[in-house]
């Protein structure tokens, strides 16, 4: 294919972005003096700043391109990832879980596991999370280099090392603070750089109704064709969406993945921390108007023989991820192409910075300070955090080269989440809401959940077991298998945790005060008027979610 051509103006836009993020890293270094500044951005962010960073940490370019491509492949069902697959979990985090996290003054999610359970559960989660972040960070880097090579014609190695070094410089200088600043800048660049593509697509095709008329019937609905998997593009029933995506994968990711939850920990007080995911939920609900819309526009144009639009094919296999870059190449003139490419670059780099800032925190506190050097001073931990950033970046570059040698590795992203986050959500949910769950129950439940998820994955991959056993249906897609595997891993983790907890020693009520429902301290926001309370905004968010689902039913 012919690469998207860049003019001098486009290069100027890209260079402005690199200069800005490096300049911000250098500027913020003077405000990064203590370990709390480095790892938790000084705990002084407003809920708006933390909320935008919360949603942006998840809004990577891999997600943007992947979801636009998935819309082309599966239709409007992909909106479930943004609505039922995100909003209830984000609201649950803000209303029920954040008081336990924030009030216990922990620095990471494994830190909560230590307080609620014990050291071995913390270290187990610390290691699995650290491995997951490096893997995801490397895949992110690999995907970025692949995109720039395929669509802009850049050298694979140069684009990967240039962005990795930039992220290394600004995260090493000022830690989470610079990661949050660049995530917020990325949020605006993505909207300004990519929303215009959807606007111009709508103008060209004529109207929203015309787009729906041009795509297959099963692709234009959200729920009304979910009773029979053969009637929708994703080949899944409503039960798989609700249990697998809406409950396990979504709650597992949004309530326990430290990458996103760390942003809420940077808030200045408990109310701001609780408002962080709730405000973020409004921004999250808007993302389909950028991603799903562009995927549907690409599909509608492809089905019109006169449009001249088509996706890239590699050896006869359609590259769905090319939908968004091909639309950028179709509509955006010089300058705006640079902005569109910068938006993707910013998404990749912010995604990598988010993973690395979560990795350096978990490594420093939950592995190094917990296992290797318990007597380390705060200044020593700050130095360790900076060193972990550089090492983490180098390891993720190594992961990226490994990913390059395995062409299907990008498909494994959702699989990795189902290995680590889905069982962890069962441990967290039981631990936070049932006081008799024991440390041994949590540890062995987590081992069983993670082990079963990996076994199911390998079993289907190598044909030891049929996918039919997992999805409980004769037909399924890869996505449906992911959803159902996450559900079973959650269930196995929960059952083993409960079973072992019946026979092992529990912690006393005194040890669990502030960590378990029913044993929590009085909320600090008791005197706040009703219209300023997080619950009020959560209800508003829920109403918007319901209305969107009804409208696109």
């Amino acid at each position: 294919m012919q690469a998207i051509g860049l003019t001098v103006v486009d290069w100027v836009i890209i260079l402005i972005y690199f200069a800005f993020v490096l300049g911000i890293g250098i500027y913020l270094k003077r405000f990064t003096r203590s370990e709390e500044d480095f790892f938790l951005a000084g705990r002084k962010n407003s809920s708006w700043v933390a909320g935008l960073a919360f949603v942006s940490a998840n809004l990577g370019a891999l997600e943007l391109m992947g979801m636009a491509g998935n819309t082309f492949k599966y239709g409007m069902y992909v909106a479930h990832f943004y609505w039922i697959g995100a909003i209830p979990a984000m609201l649950f985090l803000g209303i029920y879980m954040m008081p336990f996290y924030y009030s216990s003054r922990i620095k990471s999610i494994p830190g909560y596991l230590k307080l609620r359970f014990d050291e071995k559960t913390r270290v187990l989660n610390g290691f699995s999370f650290a491995a997951m972040t490096l893997l995801v960070s490397g895949i992110n880097l690999y995907a970025m280099a692949l995109v720039l090579h395929t669509f802009v014609g850049w050298n694979w190695d140069v684009s990967m090392w240039a962005s990795a070094l930039t992220v290394a410089v600004y995260v090493t200088l000022s830690g989470l603070l610079s990661a949050i600043f660049t995530e917020i800048i990325q949020f605006f660049l993505i909207w300004f750089g990519l929303f215009l593509v959807s606007v111009l697509g709508l103008v060209e095709i004529g109207s929203w109704d015309e787009i729906l008329r041009r795509v297959p019937e099963g692709f234009a609905k959200l729920w009304s064709n979910s009773a029979n998997p053969a009637h929708n593009g994703m080949l899944i029933t409503w039960a798989g969406i609700v249990l697998g995506l809406g409950f396990v994968l979504s709650f597992g990711y949004w309530t326990t993945d430290f990458l996103v939850v760390q942003r809420a920990f940077s808030a200045r007080n408990l109310r701001s921390a609780r408002m962080t995911p709730i405000l973020a939920s409004f921004f999250k609900m808007a993302v389909p108007f950028l991603v799903i819309l562009s995927g549907l526009i690409a599909l509608a144009l492809t089905r019109d023989p006169h449009s001249g639009f088509h996706l890239i094919s590699d050896a006869g296999k359609v590259n769905y991820d090319s939908a968004l870059p091909m639309l950028i190449g179709r509509y955006l003139p010089p300058g705006l192409v640079g902005l569109g490419i910068t938006a993707l670059l910013a998404g990749f780099m912010a995604g990598q910075a988010g993973n690395i800032s979560a990795f350096n925190t978990v490594w420093t506190y939950d592995i190094y300070h917990s296992v290797i050097n318990r007597k380390a001073s705060p200044q020593h931990l700050l130095r360790m955090g900076r060193a972990a950033t550089v090492v983490g970046i180098l390891l993720s570059v190594g992961t990226a080269y490994w990913a390059k040698s395995m062409p299907t590795i990008m498909d494994y992203m959702q699989t990795i989440f189902s290995w680590v986050n889905a069982p962890l959500f069962a441990t967290m949910l039981l631990g936070m809401f049932i006081k008799w769950i024991t440390p041994d129950g949590a540890f062995w439940g987590l081992i069983a959940g993670m082990g079963s998820s990996i076994t199911m994955y390998l079993g289907v991959k190598f044909n030891w077991i049929s996918a039919r056993l997992i999805v409980l249906s004769g037909i399924s897609s890869d996505m449906a298998v992911n959803f159902w595997r996450a559900w079973w891993a959650w269930l196995i983790c929960a059952l083993v945790t409960i079973l072992i907890s019946r026979f092992t020693k529990r912690k006393t009520d005194e040890e669990l005060t502030g960590l378990v429902k029913g044993l929590k301290r009085k909320p600090a926001e008791a005197g706040i008027s009703w219209y300023r309370r997080p619950v009020f905004y959560a209800v508003l968010s829920l109403i918007v979610l319901i209305l969107l689902n009804i409208y696109f039913w």
């Binding site: 972005y17 600043f181 300004f192 003139p333 300058g335």
Partner: protein, 75 residues
Amino acid sequence: MAPDAPKMKPIWFFVGLILLTMGLVILLAGLYGLWVRPLGPPKVLASLHPEIWWGGFMVLAGTVFILIGRKSSAE
């Protein structure tokens, strides 16, 4: 914090600055392409000149964010 400690500029200031700078470059490039010579091959819907009105919109949005940043800085 000590009274003479440096005060951090709010994030909105930086958001405004980057939108303003990029918007200005896109707007000026669009005007150059309109009045002098096009900078690249024509794209679909090029007659709408999206670079001019979108660049102008970014300049406007950037200015608003800088003003918000200055205001919260002063507070």
